[in-house]
């Protein structure tokens, strides 16, 4: 019977797990070590700017363990969504990290690099030929919106990974990839059940999150021809039918259907069976083929921000912060107008943390906080303007009167200068897919050999 064991050490490359859990998983003799290295989870900045979220040292440390262990076992490694956002630079960044490790360790490897960043021209061309379709919630898309994106990536499925593994790659480094494809590729290549491969990959994509002790880290997924099994390598952690099925809910809008490139996985009738030693077996996942689509992610610049934080303990303000903020805003608007600032050239928000800044609605009647942090956020087309506007606010936030006929108050700034330049901000622009006849049409693959003996 075809069988494939996948070790998923990290929920994200750079998050780490204990050495003990890592070595216990390696002792289970996996066929591959696979991990995801990115996400849109932390917002549009990383894709918009093409930047990586985790520290290089943390990424290198996690990658080094994978490379050293995989080399000893003669098994490959797959890493998806390199550099957090999965742009081409992210793949090259990971190649650089691997090169450094291989030279330090004297390990020679064949690396497959899969690029899926798309130019605005390519996307506009597909838009023009009607091949781009919106996902729910539907956002209108036109060329102007595409052109606002500083980076666009196509989300890879399992096909290019399978191709790379077939071609003997020791390390596969890929641009933006579905969390599941990076894990499902080897079981699919080895002829395991596709339904089980995709479902198992979804369960294990956040590593130890599908166990009783998510912090322990690490998960081992074994897929065969009729189902899959999940086992935690951590000593203090087990899998139960509840932890396994509950993970399908996490960060997933629909708990029954998983849409992957070219397939829809139906887990609604799946059976979760507890096995000895904290293992869980899952069977009866269903799958059906669909036309092939590649999901798009795009983000682009949306101005610059400057922020200021001020603390308040004055009881008069604390009893009714919203009225005070309204009066303060009206006063600031008037001052900005009198200084000649065009109201269309900037916007701002003033939010009382400790009151209703997160919620935005009414607070329970009679609620009086002990102190408040008022956060001013100014947005403008350039940094200089955003900071100038924040500077106009500065004396107002420091001294704005708490009531008529009261002496001038002073509030509590934690910083000097009070203004913090946040730099450029970005927004997500795309929630769409491209219909493709060939999964390889828009991607590029390259193979390089890193010689560990080379200086």
């Amino acid at each position: 019977m075809n069988k494939c064991k996948v070790f998923v050490p990290y929920g994200g490359l750079g998050m780490g797990i204990s050495e003990e859990s890592f070595q216990r998983a390696i002792a289970m003799k996996p066929d591959i070590i696979s991990t995801d290295a990115g996400s849109t989870d932390s917002g549009p900045y990383y894709l918009g700017a093409g930047k990586c979220k985790y520290a290089r040292e943390a990424i290198k440390n996690d990658t080094k363990r994978m490379i050293v262990a995989a080399h000893k076992l003669h098994i490959p490694i797959t890493i998806g969504s390199c550099g957090t956002c999965g742009v081409d630079d992210g793949v090259d960044f990971m190649e650089d990290v691997c090169r450094e490790i291989c030279r330090e360790e004297g390990i020679t490897v064949k690396v497959a690099k899969i690029y899926s960043e798309l130019s605005r021209e390519t996307v506009n061309e597909k838009l023009g030929s009607g091949k781009i379709k919106p996902l729910e919630p539907v956002m209108e898309l036109d060329q102007e919106k595409v052109n606002k994106c500083s980076h666009i990536v196509g989300v890879l499925g399992a096909e290019p990974f399978i191709e790379a593994l077939k071609n003997g790659a020791d390390i596969v480094l890929a641009g933006r990839t579905t969390d599941t494809a990076v894990l499902a590729c080897m079981p699919l290549l080895k002829g395991c059940s596709p339904a089980a491969a995709w479902h198992g990959a979804k369960v294990c994509e956040c590593s130890g999150t599908c166990t009783t002790s998510p912090q322990s880290g690490g998960i081992v997924l074994t897929v065969d021809e009729s189902g899959f099994e999940v086992e935690s390598p951590a000593r203090d952690s087990i899998c139960t039918p509840f932890t396994i099925s509950a993970h399908l809910l996490y960060e997933n809008a629909d708990p029954f259907y998983l849409v992957e490139p070219g397939v829809i996985v139906d887990v609604s009738e799946a059976d979760y069976i507890q096995l000895p030693e904290g293992r869980v077996r899952v069977e009866n996942t269903r799958i059906r083929q669909t036309s092939y689509t590649m999901k798009l992610e795009g983000a682009g610049p949306a101005g610059y921000q400057t922020i200021t934080l001020v603390g308040i303990r004055n009881r008069i303000v604390l009893k009714d912060p919203m009225s005070w903020l309204d009066k303060l805003s009206a006063h600031a608007d008037q001052k900005l107008g009198s200084l000649g600032y065009d109201p269309d050239s900037y916007s701002y928000s003033l939010r009382p943390y400790g009151y209703q800044a997160v919620y935005g609605g009414d607070v329970p009647e009679g609620y009086i906080p002990n102190e408040l942090g008022v956060l001013l956020t100014v947005t403008a087309d350039d940094q200089e303007t955003a900071t100038k506007i924040a500077k106009v606010f500065n004396p107002i936030l420091l001294h704005f009167e708490v009531a008529k006929n009261t002496p001038k108050p002073s509030f509590a700034f934690p910083f000097s200068p009070a203004e913090v330049e946040k730099g450029r901000i970005y927004e997500f622009q795309l929630n769409h897919v491209i219909e493709l006849d060939d999964p390889f049409e828009l991607i590029r693959m390259e193979y390089v050999t890193i010689d560990g003996k080379e200086e």
Binding site: P137, P241, A246, E251, Y359
Partner: protein
């Protein structure tokens, strides 16, 4: 009258991609699942009012085998827009927890 957060074992919320928010109500056992899953507050109209979204966009899923109710709805604005209040949507469950059973 009791509210969801007083009856359920645990309620959490999270972004599901940049355009959706999803809330998981782990009831804890069959008894509480039976009570909560029948609550009129799970009507999409009620949830839509609490979250100021279109009722047609609210999706409610029932998972009796793990005594869990799941609610998903699209974000009013994509994640990380200019004046975002909750990047990972991790605090958005509170409104649901405040609804009467």
């Amino acid at each position: 009258m009791e509210i969801f957060s007083e009856v359920a074992h645990y309620i959490r919320s999270k972004n599901a991609g940049p355009f959706w928010i999803t809330i998981d109500v782990f009831c804890g056992d069959e008894e509480r699942y039976k009570v909560l899953s029948k609550s009129p507050s799970l009507n999409p109209e009620v949830i839509a009012r609490a979250y100021k979204v279109n009722p047609d966009s609210v999706r409610v899923f029932f998972l009796p085998s793990i005594h869990t109710i799941k609610i998903s709805y699209p974000r009013a604005r994509p994640q990380g827009s200019k004046y975002e209040r909750d990047m990972h949507a991790g605090q958005q469950y509170v409104e649901l927890g405040n609804l009467p059973v």
